[in-house]
Symmetry: C2
C-alpha cells in the first residue's frame, strides 16, 4: 500500500512509521516539527534527545528503501495538495495535530494555535482527498476525551435516539474538557460533514491516553523509541508516574484521583491502526472505534505503578495535589470498546512487567530527567 | 446599557444598531467591512449602494449622540481585547461572522475563510469576556441550519437523552449542510465550553432565514434600510423571490421545493434580540432560542409571493431548477420555537401586505437590479 503519515515525528507518528516500514508498504512521511518548536518555547524536553526525521529515517531504510520524508506544514493547503497530487496515497494516517490539553489551556495564543492547527490541517486534508483521491482511506486520531464524562454509557461514536415516538441516529454527544479536546470534536464534525456529503471513507479513532515505549513488544529496539515526554504539559499520566517513581519524587495525583479513563498501550495503538488499515470502510461511511483496552481511575494507576516498581526496589510515594483542571472527579464512566476487538485485537493488559519494562528504559536515561518540568503549572 | 455590536455593517447588525439607537443605550459599533470586500471580489452588489458605517452613523446620531464606530477585525485578539477593555460593555451582540452557505461552498479558500473567521472571532470574544468582563451578556447569532433536518422533533438547543436506563442532558445533535453551517456548530460547541467552564452567560439564537427591509414595521424609514442582497450567494430566499418577481424573471425554486425551514421577519429578529437583552441568563447558563416564527416549504413561499404580488399587477412565474445543494428535499421537520414567545414576542405573520411592502421598496430601486447575479452558480 502507499501510505501517507502526517505528523510522523510524533510519539505515535514515528511508532507507526517504524512499524509499517517492516511490511512492504511505500511510506511518505510528513511533519513540520511544530511540536518541537513549542516544546522548546516552553522549556520542555523529552526524556531523550530525538534526531530529526531525516536522520531517524535512515534506520528504517535499512529494512525498507521505499520511504520518503517531507518537512511540510499541513496548515498549508497548497503544500498538502501538492503532496497528495504527487503521491496519490491509498491511505493517510493523520496525526498532524497539536496533542496537549494543558498546552491548549496555557493562554489565548496556544489555545487558538491548537484550534487553528488541528482544524485547518483536517480541513485541508479532507478537501484535498475529495478533489484528488476520493477513494483514499483516511485514518484519523481522535480522542476518548471528545465524549467527556456523560452520565450515560459511551457508545462507539454513534447513538440511536428515540424522541417523542420518532428516531434517528447521530454522532454520540461530545463535550470536551479543554480547547484541545474541543478541536478534536470539531475535527470529527467536519469529517462527518465530508463523509456524508462527498462519500469519503474515514476511520476515526477515539483513543484513550497512551502509555509505553516500544511499538512492538516482541522486539524492544531502543534505537526506534519515539519521543517520550513526561512533563506537565506534553506527558501522559502513566509515563509521567513512572518517571516520577524512577527519579524518586512522589507520583502526583490530581485531585481525588477517582477520574476514570480508558487507557491503551502504544503497542495496541499501532496494532489497532494496522487493523483499520486492512478494514477500509465503504465510501460514505465514517467508522468510529473507541481505541482503548482498559478503564482505570488515576488512583488505580498510581497504585499499580507503586506496587509494580517495588519489585525492582523502586519505592514510590503517592501525593495528591489540588486538581489543576476543571473536570468532574466523581463521575459515571462506562465506555464501549468492542469494535476493535471484533477486528481481531487481542488487548495487552497493563501489568507489572509492562510497567517495569518502561521503568527500566527510563532508568537507563535517568540522568536526562528534569524534575522541574513535572509539577503541574497550567491551571484552568 | 452599554452595548457592543460586532458586525454592525451587516443586514442584521445595522438594523440592530438603528433600532437600539432609539433607546437610551450607549452603542459601540464594530465592523471590518470584510463582507463588502468578498462581495466585490465576487461581483455581487446589494440592491442599493450602502454608505460606510462612518457615514450612516450620522443618521443615528440625530437621535443618540452616544454611538461610536471602530473599523476592527474581530479575528485580531489584540484589537478585540483593547475594545472590550476600553468600553467594558454590559452586553455584546455578535454578528461578526461570514453569513453565507453558498459562499462557504464556492471553493477551498472561501470555505476555510468562513470556518476561520467565524471560529476565531467567537473564540477571541469568549476568551476576552472570560478575562475582562465575565458578567457581560453575550448574544450570539446562530442558525436553525445547525440542526439540519433530523428525523426527530427539533428542540430548543438541548435534548434529554435516556439511554440504557440512565439519562443526561446534551446540546441537541447538530449536522450542518454547508461549511458555513458547520462553522456555526463549532461556535455553539465553543460557547458551551466557555459557559460551563468559566460561568459566562450567553444567549445563542438559532435563527431561521430572515426576510424584510425595515427593522420597524411602524416607521418604515428608507434612510435606515440595511444592506439588501438578492443574489445567488448572499441573498436569502424570500428576498430573492420578490426581486425576481419585480424584475419579471421566474422565481427559481431549487429542486422539488419541499424543503421546509423556519422563517422570520427582520422586525421580529430585532424584537427577539431586544427581548433577550432584557432577559440575561444566569452565570454559567447558555440560553438557546429557536428564533423563527413560521415554517414554510420553498414551494409555499414561492406561491405566496406569486399570489400576493398579483394584487399589485406583478405576475410572477415559478420555475424549478435543479438543486445546486446537497440537501434532503423530502424530510421530516418539526422545530420547537416557543421560548421566544414566552419572553413576550408577538410574531408577525408573513402575509400579502408584508410581501407587497418589500416589493414596493424593491420596485423603487428596480433599475439597480442585476439579473445576472441571481441564477445559482455554486454547486455542492
Amino acid at each position: 500500500m502507499k501510505i501517507l503519515i502526517l505528523g510522523a515525528d510524533g510519539y505515535l507518528g514515528w511508532s507507526m512509521a517504524a512499524s509499517l516500514s517492516e511490511d512492504n508498504h511505500e511510506l511518505i512521511l510528513v511533519d513540520n516539527y511544530s511540536k518541537r518548536k513549542y516544546m522548546k518555547e516552553l522549556n520542555r524536553t523529552p526524556l531523550c534527545k530525538m534526531p530529526l526525521v531525516t536522520t531517524r529515517i535512515k534506520i528504517l531504510k535499512r529494512l525498507n528503501k521505499n520511504i520518503s520524508f517531507y518537512e511540510i506544514d499541513c496548515m498549508s493547503y497548497k503544500k498538502m495538495k501538492s503532496i497528495i497530487k504527487k503521491h496519490k496515497p491509498d491511505a493517510i494516517i493523520h496525526f498532524a495535530e497539536l496533542p496537549s490539553a494543558p498546552f491548549s489551556m496555557l493562554n489565548n495564543k496556544y489555545g487558538w494555535d491548537t484550534l487553528h492547527n488541528n482544524l485547518q490541517s483536517t480541513f485541508n486534508l479532507l478537501h484535498c482527498i475529495k478533489d484528488i483521491v476520493p477513494d483514499c482511506h483516511i485514518i484519523k486520531l481522535g480522542t476518548m476525551g471528545e465524549y467527556g464524562t456523560p452520565n450515560i454509557d459511551i457508545e462507539e461514536g454513534w447513538i440511536n435516539i428515540r424522541h417523542k415516538n420518532r428516531k434517528d441516529k447521530f454522532l454520540f454527544p461530545r463535550q470536551g474538557s479543554s480547547l484541545y479536546h474541543m478541536s478534536k470534536i470539531m475535527d470529527t464534525d467536519l469529517i462527518w460533514f465530508y463523509v456524508r456529503n462527498y462519500g469519503l471513507n474515514v476511520t476515526d479513532l477515539m483513543q484513550g491516553p497512551v502509555y509505553g515505549i516500544y511499538y512492538d513488544d516482541k522486539h524492544k529496539n531502543d534505537e526506534l523509541v519515539p519521543t517520550f515526554t513526561y512533563d506537565d504539559i506534553f506527558g501522559t499520566v502513566l509515563n509521567r508516574f513512572i518517571v516520577q517513581a524512577v527519579v524518586g519524587t512522589p507520583l502526583t495525583v490530581y485531585g481525588s484521583g477517582s477520574q476514570t479513563r480508558g487507557y491503551i498501550n502504544v503497542v495496541d495503538t499501532i496494532k489497532c491502526i494496522k487493523l483499520t488499515l486492512e478494514n477500509k470502510p465503504k465510501n460514505g461511511e465514517l467508522a468510529i472505534y473507541n481505541q482503548f483496552t482498559e478503564q482505570f481511575t488515576v488512583n488505580e494507576l498510581a497504585n499499580l505503578v507503586k506496587k509494580s516498581l517495588a519489585r525492582i526496589d523502586i519505592f514510590a510515594k503517592i501525593k495528591k495535589v489540588s486538581n489543576p483542571r476543571i473536570e468532574k472527579e466523581k463521575h459515571y464512566y462506562n465506555a464501549k470498546h468492542s469494535n476493535i476487538k471484533k477486528l481481531g485485537l487481542k488487548p495487552l493488559k497493563l501489568d507489572k512487567n509492562i510497567i517495569i519494562d518502561i521503568a527500566e528504559y527510563v532508568s537507563r536515561h535517568k540522568n536526562n530527567i528534569n524534575t522541574k518540568i513535572i509539577q503541574p503549572r497550567v491551571n484552568w
